[in-house]
């Protein structure tokens, strides 16, 4: 007998956690002498109040879908991948190398190639920690943390010494050729005859992200590798009994995870900046943790949570732009969401379970 209905587990608990996180955030805003209601208004207006706001919200959402899926896939294998940040950074390198290496005739050719580059580099950056965990028993949490730092140094070296056009001050690669620019959602809307989100960075990658959600869902619940990943994540010993190789699954799950994190780069590097810059990831790798947790490690949940964080990011950005609330407020909100939906999950769940048990007793 389950302790509470599935809907309560999947929807009610995270919702209450979220409300708590926002409640405390409101207190923080009050504490720094600002008005939370006003702040919320600015956020909603800025992120959802116009197609313009949506254009940004969806852009951030796309980033977070990828990193959220990355954390989620690893999580199903019982692996905590905190290395999304570094993997996404390396994914950017993959994109830049692919796009700059060949004269692409049209974005439709460049996109798949860049996606492969991004996924490959992200996957490779996850492969080493995966291999070290599987073969050498070094804890993947620690190694992926270290690999974030190493990725930053590596990218800096490559940008400053190899990819930067001479004379440019910016530690950034050359601009991508115009033919490799991805169509923005606003362009696509214009193509369909209406104006939507002019000058916003949301681009065709958004659909790639949605496709990724679907594919990940299929992978995890409808394929043998997915079955094995989940089995391994729940019980390593039982996996061995069933002939599932821990090394293979650890490596596989991290490769997929790293590839997903790397894929984010086609959104921010190829779709938005149209060149590779330092720190292009901007913490999206870490937000992926919150997104996966909020989304209950399901692609649909990840999509919704990414949307939420897209809203937070765009709304919070507006907040920092137009009010005197520093942008670190978003970091605090993000921390609170992770805390309440991830670590303090039981604080909400336990009373709810008791409630449902009592209700059932009464009903029976």
């Amino acid at each position: 007998m389950e302790r509470m209905p599935k809907w309560a587990d999947v929807i009610l608990t995270p919702l209450i956690s979220l409300v708590l996180a926002f409640g405390i955030s409101a207190l923080v805003i009050l504490a720094i002498g600002e008005d939370p209601v006003e702040a919320l208004k600015v956020m909603v207006q800025g992120a959802l109040g116009s197609s313009y706001g949506w254009g940004f919200t969806l852009y951030y959402t796309t980033n977070f879908i990828f990193t959220g899926l990355a954390v989620m896939v690893a999580y199903h294998a019982g692996l905590f991948n905190i290395g999304g940040e570094g993997q996404a950074a390396l994914g950017g390198l993959g994109v830049a190398l692919v796009v700059l290496a060949l004269p692409w005739p049209h974005w439709a050719f460049a996109l798949p190639a860049a996606a492969v580059g991004a996924a490959l580099f992200g996957a490779l950056w996850a492969l080493i920690p995966a291999w070290l965990q599987a073969r050498r028993g070094s804890h993947i949490v620690i190694t992926t943390i270290m690999f974030n730092f190493i990725a930053a140094a590596l990218l800096n070296y490559v940008l400053v010494n190899l990819l930067r056009p001479v004379g440019s001050m910016d530690p950034a690669s050359a601009r991508f050729p115009a033919a490799a620019h991805l169509p923005k959602l606003s362009d696509m809307a214009l193509g369909l005859g209406f104006e939507w989100g002019r000058n916003t960075p949301a681009n065709v990658t958004f659909f790639v992200a949605i496709a990724a959600c679907l594919l990940v869902w299929l992978l995890i619940w409808h394929t043998r590798p997915g079955y094995e990943i989940r089995a391994f994540g729940k019980s390593e010993q039982a996996a061995l009994y069933a002939g599932i190789s821990p090394v293979r699954i650890t490596v596989l799950a991290m490769l997929v995870s790293g590839a997903l994190a790397g894929l984010m780069a086609i959104n921010n590097v190829m779709g938005e900046a149209e060149r590779l810059m330092l720190n292009a990831v901007e913490g999206a790798g870490f937000i992926g943790i919150a997104v996966a947790l909020m989304g209950r490690n399901h692609p649909f949940g990840v999509f919704l949570a990414a949307l939420l964080f897209g809203f937070l990011y765009q709304g919070g950005g507006e907040l920092a732009l137009w009010t005197s609330i520093p942008r670190e407020l978003i970091v605090v909100i993000q921390a609170l969401v992770i805390l309440f939906t991830g670590a303090l999950d039981n604080m909400v769940r336990m009373p709810l379970e008791r409630l449902f048990t009592a209700l059932r007793r009464k009903g029976a």
């Binding site: 940004f56 951030y60 140094a153 800096n156 070296y157 916003t200 330092l278 720190n279 950005g317 920092a320």
Partner: protein, 306 residues
Amino acid sequence: DPALIFDLGGKFDKSFNEAAYNGAERWKAETGGTYKELEMQSEAQREQALRRLAQSGANPIVMTGFAFGEVLAKIAPDYPDTKFVIIDMVVEQPNVQSVVFTEEQGSYLAGVAAALASKSGTVGFIGGMDIPLIHKFECGYAQGFKATRPDGKLIINYTGTTPAAWNDPVKGGELLKAQVSQGADVVYAAAGGTGIGVLQAAADAGVLSIGVDSNQNHLHPGQVLTSMVKGVDVSVYEAFKAGTEVEPGVRVMDLASGGVSLAMDDNNKPLISDEIATAVDAAAQAIESGGIKVHDYMTDNTCPVQ
């Protein structure tokens, strides 16, 4: 109204964002006018912020930092009636004023001062994040130092390769101590928040330091030899003052125009001997007159002296 956009480092970075802020505040205090200000929160927002400000009718719009270059080049044609001012970068558009500084010249003077103030003949340079812009400071400093003391020794350190390098005063302090133990007695810090740790450690160790961007002489009176000041505040002040009449084109803020200079005030008066003052003035004049050509690292990513 005019508007000012700060780069990702934030308004209070003790560097040019803060200098820009000071310039705007000065304008505000003098004229009683108001201005809009914005702080960047992510890369993707640059364009958003610019467009929103332009649409809201702000004019001129001043932005700090080379990172705005790409975006500005893209959007400036969309708002032909708005004037833009970009600091630290050249953008060639009819409605854009580009303000660039010759940091290598100011750093050259810092190198001259350091060479003469040093008793040991060894001086240091501590950079923040290891990027070309900071190498530009380093290279100018090295040229001034070597020109004055060809046999002198220069020790160079960078704090790191990630943005964390701008915010590690502990490491800054350690780097300073390491340089001191190698004999350095004047150290030039171009390292943002890390520099604060360098100046502090220098004061603790009893050696001289050189500040950067803003006048940092007051942080440890009598212990900061001088500061290599960029006139970011001046350029913002002047842009605000000119209002919609801001002149498009490249504005080089060099030594001659007072765009870069060494800070001399009561705090460092006792440290600046006549010899130093004379030598710095001479070098400044030579640079202004073209007698000395200070090489800009960023033109070719190399430095003629090591």
